[in-house]
């Protein structure tokens, strides 16, 4: 590549997710262009003619790019979708309509946007399959607009070689289209360690650093070292740094060979489970050394759609997940939409504080049929596979809500009904909630958000969202105590479970299962196996006794086996 920074290395800092370290070339992703508001085009005929020509060329170039990508994906569903999208970019009616608008005086960018919206309206009104194609139409529009405005094409570029993907931020859709085999690391300027991109990257074991100041200056093709354990990006890394990254990856790779069940050194069992979002994720676990799935986020099925998936469509996906795990435990979370995960067909847009609004389980207040359909689909999947899923509802705040959900689930034929504890009220009354349900699972990201009154997507408040905050740990301890008294499972499926040091504290508090990105399991398994239950309990007491998050972590680290701390870069 052409632009390479000077010989001196330069460091950028952010929050790391995962423990990996890699070196690779930068591949930049760009945001979609803003909606054009400037309606007036050239005021003379020659200008309009030239603009028409430009528009035609932009569409032609976009169609050609899409066609190349389609050919590279030939024979796959993605290939078919890209071929159809390329055909949209060559559509004579669409281009004709844009040209006509420009000739009658509209600015080219405005004309492209308006002409596209006409088809968007047509497709949206038709619903079903056509409505789903709206995303493709808009992606053609964004590419043409970017080209006309002289901006880089939006989205993640096609990766020719294993690369470090760098973006201001990545939408769920961007992340979904990444060619994972070629993503060495993800670096973003925005987001937080518990945001969508970080979670997905963590799940896939891709080193990720978020909130990186200066990420927008990284240039396509330049070589960078990414250390997720320290959150440091080094431009133009020295050979020693590259060698160190390789050593770390080798050590982590060695831990992956251990396939035993989770337990402390003296044999106290702690289930090690995986967090997943799709059936494909589940299928990747078929051979994985995890004891099951502790959190299946079903909302991925619903996001980015204009209507809810049908009962049958859902049942098929759930059945695939249950089958893939081959009888291991699978905990399914019902639809968790709202706040940072809006759904076109249910989420209200007029809420001033969406995180405190109608989200998660609260959707039953306005759209009860969504929950009923989902439970029916889960029951159908259970019937089809002979595997009983554990099913839990998100964002439960009261005992009444827990009881209501458990009744709905049992009526649908689900034997194991539980709830998420993400709201302090539910944590404080865990004992009463556990009298109504079969299990609880703590979502520590949201629990921290609501305990500390800090938006978990706001990177600037990341210190407040630290899972080591003693107030958050007090609530976790209360839930674990409730679980012990009721003799029911109380797990953690938040990202804090994936921290090998925090996992020891959670075990000491009495948490019965830890669910995390599959990639984080080997380090947690190793850490648990090197500490006794008694040591874990001492660590938990030290964490709770500390007045601040930093002091708590330091006190626990002092009790940690030094070899574990070294191998895991704790």
């Amino acid at each position: 590549m052409t632009e390479v920074p000077g010989p001196t290395s330069q460091e950028l800092h952010g929050s790391g997710v995962g423990r990996g370290a890699v070196v690779g070339p930068v591949a930049r992703a760009y945001p979609p262009p803003p909606t054009p508001l400037d309606a007036e085009g050239p005021d003379n005929d020659a200008g309009r003619q030239a603009a028409v020509q430009e528009v035609a060329e932009a569409y032609k170039a976009v169609a050609a790019t899409l066609m190349t990508r389609a050919q590279n994906a030939a024979g796959t569903t993605m290939g078919d979708v890209l071929t159809a999208t390329a055909a949209m970019a060559s559509d004579p009616e669409l281009i004709g309509s844009v040209k006509e608008r420009v000739l009658t005086g509209q600015a080219p960018l405005f004309a492209v946007d308006r002409a596209t919206e006409e088809y968007v309206d047509l497709f949206t009104a038709a619903g079903g399959y056509l409505a789903e194609r709206v995303t493709d139409l808009r992606s053609v529009r964004d590419r043409v607009l970017a080209r006309l405005a002289g901006r880089p094409e939006p989205g993640v570029p096609e990766l020719a070689e294993p690369s470090v993907v760098v973006a201001t931020d990545l939408s769920p859709a961007d992340t979904a289209t990444l060619d994972l085999a070629k993503v060495k690391a993800i670096v973003i300027a925005q987001g937080g360690p518990t945001g969508h991109t970080a979670i997905i990257a963590g799940q896939l074991g891709i080193p990720c650093v978020v909130r990186v100041d200066g990420a927008d200056e990284l240039v396509d093709g330049e070589i960078v070292a990414v250390d997720a354990a320290t959150g440091v990006i080094t431009r133009n890394p020295a050979p020693e740094l590259t060698a160190k990254a390789e050593q770390r990856m080798q050590a982590l790779h060695d831990l992956e060979k251990d396939r035993s069940d989770g337990a402390t050194s003296d044999g106290h069992p702690v289930q090690l489970l995986a967090n997943i979002g799709t059936a494909e994720d589940a299928e990747r676990l078929t051979e994985a050394a995890v004891e099951g799935v502790g959190l299946f986020r079903t909302e991925v099925l619903f996001l980015g759609r204009t209507t809810a998936p049908t009962r049958q469509e859902q049942a098929e996906v759930y059945a695939r997940v249950l089958t893939a795990l081959g009888g291991r435990k699978v905990v399914v979370r019902t639809l968790d939409a709202g706040a940072d995960k809006p759904l076109a067909f249910v989420t209200r847009t007029d809420e001033e504080n969406p995180a405190l609004g109608v989200r998660g389980y609260r959707l039953v207040r306005t759209a009860k049929e969504l929950m009923a359909d989902q439970l029916a689909a889960l029951a159908a999947a259970q019937e089809a596979t002979g595997v009983q899923p554990w099913v839990m509802a998100p964002m439960i705040a009261t005992v009444d809500e827990a009881a209501e959900f458990a009744a709905m689930a049992r009526e649908a034929g689900i034997a194991k009904a539980g709830v998420m504890v993400e709201v302090p009220s539910a944590a404080l009354r865990a004992r009463d909630i556990l009298a109504e349900v079969d299990f609880v699972s703590m979502g520590t990201n949201d629990l921290a958000q609501y305990t500390m009154a800090s938006d978990r997507l706001l990177g600037s408040l990341v210190d407040l969202l630290d899972p080591w905050q003693p107030a958050v740990l007090d609530l976790v301890a209360a839930v674990a105590r409730g679980g012990r008294e009721a003799e029911k499972s109380a797990g953690v499926c938040g990202e804090s479970a994936s921290d090998p040091l925090m996992a020891l504290v959670l075990t000491g508090l009495g948490v019965t299962s830890l669910s995390m990105s599959p990639a984080a399991v080997p380090a947690v398994r190793f850490s648990l196996a090197r500490h006794s239950l008694e040591r874990c309990q001492k660590m938990a007491a030290a964490a709770l006794a500390a007045p601040t998050a930093a002091k708590g972590r330091a006190a626990v680290l002092a009790l940690c086996d030094p070899q574990v701390a070294e191998v895991l870069a704790l």
Partner: protein
């Protein structure tokens, strides 16, 4: 102006893949396509063709000057384009 009517054989109707193949074949022929009693649209426009929402087994009418092109397009619609991978 010549006309042909044909039953659409593609299992999923004229959706992404079949519509792409059909509109590519129709490019430059000046042929129009219409559903029963509907307004004819440019057969080369994937957006218009998809918007017709033609399902498997539904009948469409093609119209145009070029008889050879019409025959080709009829043959295409009479094939299950989803099956042909």
């Amino acid at each position: 102006m010549a006309q042909r009517t044909v039953e659409v054989a593609s299992a999923q109707g004229l959706h992404a893949r079949p519509a792409t193949l059909f509109t590519q074949a129709a490019a430059g022929t000046g042929v129009t396509i219409a559903k029963d009693g509907g307004t004819p649209v440019d057969a080369a426009s994937i957006l218009r063709v998809m918007a017709l929402g033609v399902k498997n087994g539904e009948t469409v009418t093609l119209e145009g000057e070029d008889e050879a092109a019409l025959d080709r397009l009829v043959a295409l619609l009479a094939t299950d384009l989803d099956a042909e991978q």
